[in-house]
């Protein structure tokens, strides 16, 4: 990255003349900065590490082989952000807008599903399954669309009311069936719902895996089904619930956001960690840098995790006790593992080549999925895991490696470890490779380099709190946490778009957009003239 390093900083120096400071150059931080800059505010983006992008970064996983950390697919990307920040013009281009999925089962069977879930049922052979699946998918997508306003992060305290109003409005228009379904599904587990809708079989197996993978929650535990609905509510490339792969990998979203930020004349300062936020009379007044200097500005948008943004940078004495308590999120026990592998050799036959351009999912039997979650929460490495694999080189020719393949994997669930030792990391890789064998028997022979990324690795690079990269809590807790964190304890001029502001995971940028828009509204109200 070509961000300007913090060279001019010196202790005791006070900078002024700035309207807004964005802390943290994650996707949301970048989006917020772009919005603010575009609106004419003199904006400064401060990033503590030398690179921007938060956990999403390009990195050589082997000599000459570039991998991408953080995410490997785009599941939710706010269409407003794409339009308003002109991300297409700034370089976003989808290599695949709607990836098909192929599910591999324990018994060696496979099932190919069209990326368009609504029409996926047409692929089913027998009538019963087709009907069950069709009805289920229609209902789930309808519910997800209905609930979409609730999954969007709030913009500010007052917005809790507007979310309610938006929902009230759709409640009035909704059929009584929808309303009854929400009452039924609000607390439901994935297993509750699937057992009621499906007979045992591959469809139930793949949906169990898919729902548990997307929501990150144990399929037998309360609230997990709502987590799944949240994923279906997301929109990518204009398509609800779709999975897309951008040219250049997910890091290309970051790159285009950076271009948007630069086009908006925002100054990006990397390697400039913030020590604390200056609060004067319950209003933001600027930031104190780790190096000792101060930058003064009336608007602070914080894209770091809530614990750092509030407890470390603002401090408990400026926060309300109830607010502080709600921020102390319960400790998560689960995390995903990210594995990037280089393989020797390339696919020869057409069928395999075709599959390389799809999303490959290993779906263990539902019992094994349940057991895996139980083991992971108890701190044991599970015997099997749900594995999602893609071949970036097949989707995007630029990512291709000569005479080999790069394979990108996300696997779930694993225990959330603060500092796993080499043996434990090894066990995790072994479980994932075993699952890969189900997808492509013999693949282990071709493995060249294995690169495992766990939450602690990401935290080491970004400086964030490790907990920010653990699996998210239940949807009910995410709602409460998002509402709390975004309210910023009502400190004037402070806006929040860290990971807690978003319901579910994945790059969405909605939180960044909302934080910036709330800041702009307030700025105009205060008489600021951008």
């Amino acid at each position: 990255m070509t961000a300007k390093p913090e060279a001019t900083q010196s202790a005791g120096r006070i900078e002024g003349g700035i309207d807004a400071i964005v802390i943290g150059a994650s996707a949301d931080g970048l989006a917020a900065a772009a919005y603010l800059g575009k609106a004419g505010l003199r904006t400064l983006l401060l990033e503590e590490s030398a690179e921007i992008g938060g956990p999403v970064r390009a990195r050589d996983i082997a000599p000459g082989v570039a991998g991408v950390d953080g995410e490997h697919l785009v599941r939710i990307l706010d269409p407003d952000v794409i339009n308003e920040l002109e991300l297409y013009r700034h370089g976003v281009n989808y290599a695949a807008r709607r990836l098909d999925s192929v599910y591999y089962f324990d018994d060696g069977e496979t099932l190919h599903l069209d990326g368009d879930l609504q029409h996926a049922a047409d692929l089913m052979l027998d009538d019963d399954t087709r009907d069950q699946f069709g009805t289920f998918m229609r209902e789930a997508l309808e519910l997800a669309a209905f609930l979409r306003p609730t999954f969007a992060p709030l913009r500010s305290t007052e917005d809790a009311q507007s979310t309610k109003q938006a929902l009230d409005k759709s409640v009035r228009q909704a059929s009584p069936e929808i309303s009854a379904l929400i009452a039924r599904y609000a607390l439901a587990s994935i297993e509750d719902v699937l057992n009621a809708s499906f007979d045992d079989g591959p469809i139930k197996t793949l949906l169990t895996s898919e729902a548990a993978f997307l929501s990150g929650a144990a399929p037998h535990e309360a609230f997990s089904f709502m987590g799944f609905l949240r994923c279906l509510a997301g929109e990518t490339a204009g398509l609800q619930g779709a999975v897309a792969y951008p040219d250049g990998g997910v890091v290309s979203i970051i790159n285009s956001l950076r271009r948007a930020v630069q086009a908006a004349k925002v100054e990006i300062r990397a390697a400039a960690p913030v020590k604390s936020i200056l609060i004067e009379w319950d209003r933001a007044a600027g930031v104190v840098l780790q190096g000792g200097g101060q930058v003064r500005a009336p608007i602070i948008v914080n894209a770091l995790d809530a614990s750092r943004a509030y407890l470390d940078m603002i401090g408990p004495d400026a926060l309300d006790i109830e607010f502080q308590r709600m921020l102390t999120a319960p400790q998560s026990h689960l995390a995903s593992a990210r594995l990037q592998i280089t393989l020797r050799g390339v696919a020869k036959d057409e069928a395999t080549k075709e599959n390389l351009r799809r999303r490959l999912v290993f779906s263990p039997p539902p019992n094994d999925v349940r057991r895996a979650f139980i083991d992971a929460r108890a701190g044991r490495i599970p015997e099997s895991a749900i594995v999602e694999a893609i071949f970036p080189g097949a989707l995007d020719t630029d990512a291709a490696v000569d005479g080999g393949q790069i394979l990108s994997i996300v696997a779930h669930p694993f225990p959330f470890d603060q500092a796993p030792d080499a043996r434990r990391r090894n066990e995790i890789s072994t479980v994932i490779l075993a699952a890969l064998e189900k997808i492509a028997p013999g693949i282990s022979e071709q493995v060249d380099v294995i690169d495992l990324r766990l939450p602690c690795d990401l935290a080491k690079v970004t400086g964030a709190n490790i907990a920010a990269y653990a699996a998210k809590p239940t949807i009910m807790q995410q709602w409460a946490l998002a509402g709390t964190a975004v309210s910023a304890s009502d400190i004037g001029g402070v806006y929040f778009c860290g990971p807690e502001a978003q319901i579910g995971s994945g790059i969405s940028c909605t939180a960044g957009k909302n934080a910036a828009k709330a800041a702009l509204r307030e700025f105009k109200k205060e008489g600021g003239a951008p």
């Binding site: 209905f146 609730t150 305290t157 809790a160 009311q161 979310t163 309610k164 109003q165 929902l167 009230d168 759709s170 409640v171 909704a174 009584p176 929808i178 309303s179 009854a180 379904l181 929400i182 009452a183 039924r184 599904y185 609000a186 607390l187 439901a188 587990s189 297993e191 509750d192 057992n195 009621a196 929650a217 037998h220 535990e221 309360a222 609230f223 997990s224 109830e322 308590r325 709600m326 102390t328 319960p330 400790q331 026990h333 019992n367 349940r370 057991r371 139980i374 929460r377 108890a378 809590p473 239940t474 009910m476 807790q477 709602w479 409460a480 946490l481 509402g483 709390t484 309210s487």
Partner: protein, 445 residues
């Protein structure tokens, strides 16, 4: 002509009888289905409290009935003194101090806090399934920050809530054991915090029928009969619904009746009737495990731990046992360190119970039902846990019987769950059942 009813209450316990009698007296037409096997189990076990308003509505003073509050809740951990809490604040303070627990002030605040958490609340109404208007209540919840924070605490784990409040592990283990054990829940699961509010409900203190006299079960049966509840004592064959307002229940002998609502006064009754899957948020209620109830006849009365014969006792080694046990049970294995609760009946029998058994077993890559060996093993396991805390018990046992409920059995009687309502509470089952049926009659759902 098929008889039409407002409620069909399926169950054979005090909560079902109370709900039936109260609804009938309030003007509803109520039918009740009880299991046909003879019932011995209602006589000795402590039951949830009968609040005054039910007492008044059913005029229970006309019967010669005295109920005593269970004196204490006692947890027998692996080592150290028993942890004891009682009805009275002052006694609890002294008892906790006795066990070396110095957090009584926090305990008091925690009791108040759970009462606030339990008040109203989205999860409550969603759980009872009585509210049809899920979308509107969700909208209300999301619009109210305070209510949402409260709901999110209940949606979290019991362990997280306890960790937030207390430092003392013995106290945390004690609360978790008493709150979770009746439903076979683990302390780390989402939603397990909900059991805490139920446990701290005023009506959650258990009662025992004092002395000889008639049992509450017999008295309530008489009240139901007198008030005109139609009681069927034969097996239900199937349920069907034609999409209209009424569901049809068909008995094994082909007798039919129609009902607007099928009502289960306890989650256990729903499981027993094969309608466990109709309970919204089955996972919060600890579905998927079976309960073993054991009665041990002794040659002489045993010395009660903590010198209290009228207490309810929990046996756990440590708070994590609860989650480990639940994890094992839902994976189809009997737990290694089985949580067991027990009480000492008036006649000196020991009544022990554990809700942490698998409802189906998983072995050699196959699921299978309970066998007589499993029953024996379960009985052995409960006995071992009891003798670990009650020295000398082994030599006193004359006879032991075991009864398993919640095990997966034959066909599902309830193909679909429309019109089926399951009251979720286990701790304050009687008052919760009556309040729920009241709300339904008042038109909420």
């Amino acid at each position: 002509m098929t008889a039409h009813f407002d409620f069909l209450i399926i169950g054979d316990d005090e909560a079902s009888l109370c709900a039936a009698a109260c609804a009938q007296k309030a003007g509803a037409k109520v039918a009740m289905v009880r299991s046909s096997k003879s019932n011995k189990k209602q006589s000795a076990r402590a039951l949830s409290s009968v609040p005054n308003f039910i007492w008044r509505r059913l005029d229970l003073q006309e019967f010669d009935l005295t109920l005593d509050k269970v004196s204490a809740r006692v947890t027998l951990l692996e080592s150290g003194d028993p942890v004891v809490t009682l009805v009275g604040g002052r006694d609890t303070k002294a008892a906790l101090a006795n066990a070396g627990v110095d957090e009584y002030a926090l305990w008091e605040d925690f009791v108040d806090e759970t009462a606030v958490l339990a008040d109203g609340g989205f999860i409550n109404s969603a759980l009872s399934g009585a509210s049809k208007d899920g979308a509107a209540s969700l909208a209300n919840l999301l619009g109210d920050r305070t209510a949402l924070s409260r709901a999110s605490l209940l949606a979290g784990s019991c362990r997280a809530l306890l960790d937030d409040c207390f430092e003392d592990n013995r106290l945390k283990d004690h609360i978790a054991a008493h709150a979770l054990a009746p439903s076979g829940l683990g302390g780390a699961e989402p939603g397990s915090a909900f059991a805490l509010t139920d446990y701290f409900d005023d009506d959650a203190w258990r009662m025992r029928v004092a002395g000889e006299g008639k049992s509450l079960y017999e008295i309530l049966t008489a009240v139901c009969e007198r008030s005109g509840v139609k009681i069927f004592t034969k097996p239900l064959g199937r349920m069907s619904s034609d999409g209209g307002k009424y569901k049809t229940a068909v008995f094994d002998d082909d007798e039919k009746l129609k009902t607007r609502v099928v009502f289960f006064a306890t989650p256990d009754a729903a499981v027993e009737a094969g309608a466990g899957h109709c309970a919204p948020g089955a996972s919060i209620r600890g579905a998927g495990t079976a309960t073993a109830a054991m009665r041990l006849k002794l040659s002489e009365k045993i010395d009660a731990p903590a010198h209290d014969e009228d207490a309810i006792f929990q046996i756990i080694d440590d708070g994590d046992d609860l989650q480990d046990a639940r994890d094992a049970a839902i994976s189809g294995r009997p737990p290694e360190r089985l949580p067991v609760e027990f009480e000492i009946a008036k006649n000196g029998d020991i009544l022990a119970r554990s809700a942490y058994f698998p409802s189906v077993f998983y072995a050699d890559n196959e699921w299978r039902g309970w066998t007589s060996q499993d029953r024996q093993a379960a009985a052995m396991q409960i006995r071992e846990r009891l003798t670990s805390r009650l020295p000398g018990l082994a030599n006193l046992i004359l006879k032991a019987t075991i009864d398993i409920t919640g095990a997966v059995s034959g066909d599902a009687v309830f193909p679909d769950c429309a019109g089926v309502v399951v009251q979720p509470s286990r701790h304050s089952a009687i008052s919760a059942a009556v309040r729920l049926i009241d709300r339904m009659m008042a038109g909420d759902g």
